[in-house]
Amino acid sequence: MTEVTIDKAEDKVNEITEKKKRPRRKRREGTLARREAIAGYLFVLPWVIGVIAFLIMPLSNSFQYALANIKMTPKGRIISFVGYQNFTQIWFEDASFPTTIWGYVLNTLLSVPVIVVFALIIAMLLNDKIKLKGMFRLIFFLPVIVVSGPVMGMLADQGAATVPSMNVTLITGLLEGVLPGSLVTAISSLFENMIMILWYSGVQILIFLSALQKIDTTLYEAAKIDGGSGWECFWKITLPTIKPMLLLNAVYTVIFLSNNEQNSIIVMIQDAMFAASQGYGYASAMAWLYSVVVTLLVAVVAIVLMTRKDAYDRQVAKMKRKHRKDAREVRKIRRRNRRNEGKIASTTR
């Protein structure tokens, strides 16, 4: 009885392991491959040096600064280690930083969908067969060329950043009854700087446009033959196809908004850097906190828009799981066999 089961198990083991038994020779790198690799290293060498000198070293220095108090004296810098005091000071004693950063998070979370949806709409309009396509593209891309901190500041000061004849106070008044205060200010500032926000969508429009142009038109024809309307085509064909671009654009927008000179936190950091009472250490701590927040925002956006696995991917994952399970079973059976063989040997002796 036991021998029968052992035989069966052995068969199964052979069956499963047969696939893996293909001879896999470890290929050694030839001289050509090695020479190519060396050439590759030489080509990217400037970048590697740059990363070490301008990314990794400053990063570690900045971390060191963040935990220290730096005094500038005529003799040089005096760095005294103070631990996490900078952070506690920023977070608990300075009222301005937490409120500013909270406002920034709200603003970004509100404007990213606006920018991305708006860019998508314009890209779809431009993707239609229209006349003067070149001229419209010229207009929508123009802001990318002129947008810069001082120019935006000048225009915003003059009130050129609001859509004319849009009554912001009315909208604010309406919202105040329904929503909490901080959200209302964020939304009203969104409306106030509507044009500026629209101006940030130039690159995104182009990215969407080139993605839209690459969609296979036969898909739409097939859908139309099956009686799909334009609305259905958008949700079932256009949107799933350009979903990776949606993610790309959203992340790009978050980064753009965060690293923008108009951003009040960036101005704050710079001010703190040269302020007598605060200095480099304080500013570094601020920058670290800020970059953590930005990274979190990027992560949130990425998770929300991450492409879900389609049926094929799910199948692959399932098969992989099954293989792993099989392999585990094989190991188990082998172990049992060995044990049983030992037992049989001992009993026959």
Partner: protein, 332 residues
């Protein structure tokens, strides 16, 4: 007479029985058919495009219109768009205050030299990533993306300290040295553009060159680089525009914000615009300008500072917009 009217009547009858404009045609005209979009849809599309286009252009139009107004026009509430006289004095005042000609050349220098370096270095690095396989490439690419996401403020302070230790702050070298090592302004994007582009260059072509005796660098210079003209153009234009518009880092590194006494050694138009109020009042003090600062002059200064890039954009706009498509910035 009677015959004529009879003929007319006949025509009318024929027309009524087979009208050239029937219900079907009207429907087709407004709602469209399979081949052609209907009138209503076209109306909506063009209407939307024109409305949004106007909103996009509104600040620019506002700027142009305001910059030409003199003080009377500004105060006159009946004038909102078209100034009563074409007024150039705003521009001359703003130009004197900004020291326009000198600053323009300095801006071209400050934006142009790092851009040239960016193009050269990023193309080499992008080729290295695209063409060769070596250990650690994936980690390096990950680091590249990471450095794009990271806010520049975090590395700004130590870099500033380093530059000031070596005495680079206040000179153009503070921009040139990072871009020499592929760490200039938004260099990550440029490296990625070149990476995407060089991956599309068939490997066989380069291997053929190598069989004919070209070394790695020669085959890059002779085969890969000439075919990358669109990518080079894209990187050149964007780098130029981004350096031109960068005021924060320029002010920090090149003009030197900490020691104001050194200010003025190198400056750009955008930085001048940022500090326009102070520079205008100092120009007024020395007698360079006569008028008081007002919004017209500010708008004139804004227009003057972006005019060079605007002109470049209108000349090269086709390259600007289409190059993004060709270089595959979107990343397949």
């Amino acid at each position: 007479m009677k015959g004529k009217s009879q003929a007319q009547l006949d025509r009318l009858k024929r027309y009524l029985s087979h009208p050239s404009v029937n219900k079907e045609k009207i429907r087709k005209f407004f709602l469209g058919s399979k081949e052609k979009n209907g009138f209503i849809k076209q109306l909506i599309v063009y209407g939307l495009l024109i409305c949004i286009g106007f909103v996009y252009l509104y600040p620019m139009l506002y700027m142009v219109s305001k910059s030409m107004m003199d003080l009377d026009d500004l105060l006159d509430t009946s004038i909102s768009w078209i100034p009563s006289t074409f007024n150039v004095s705003n521009f001359t005042q703003a130009a004197t205050a900004m020291n326009y000609v000198k600053t323009l050349f300095q801006s071209i220098l400050v934006a142009g030299l790092p851009t040239l370096l960016n193009v050269t270095v990023c193309s080499v690095i992008g080729y290295g990533f695209a063409r060769f396989e070596f250990r650690g490439k994936k980690i390096m690419m990950g680091l590249l993306i990471f450095s794009f996401i990271l806010p520049p403020q975090i590395t700004m302070m130590p870099t500033y300290v380093m530059f000031s230790d070596y005495g680079l702050v206040g000179t153009l070298k503070a921009f040139l040295i990072p871009s020499l090592f592929g760490q200039g302004l938004k260099c990550q994007i440029f490296i990625l553009i070149f990476y995407q582009f060089f991956r599309q260059v068939p490997k066989v072509l380069i291997e053929a060159a190598q069989i004919d005796g070209a070394g790695y660098f020669k085959s890059f210079l002779r085969i890969a680089l000439p075919s990358a003209a669109p990518a080079i153009l894209t990187v050149f234009l964007f780098s130029l525009v981004w350096y031109w518009n960068e005021s924060y880092l320029t002010e920090l590194y090149v003009t030197g914000i900490a020691n104001k006494t050194q200010m003025g050694s190198l400056s750009t138009l955008v930085v001048q615009l940022k500090n326009f109020a102070t520079s205008y009042s100092s120009a007024q003090y020395t007698g360079g300008v006569t008028q008081n600062n007002n919004e017209s002059i500010q708008m004139a200064a804004t227009l003057l500072s972006i005019l060079p890039v605007l002109i470049m954009y209108f000349i090269l706009q086709r390259n600007f917009v289409e190059s993004i498509d060709r270089t595959g910035i979107t990343g397949e």
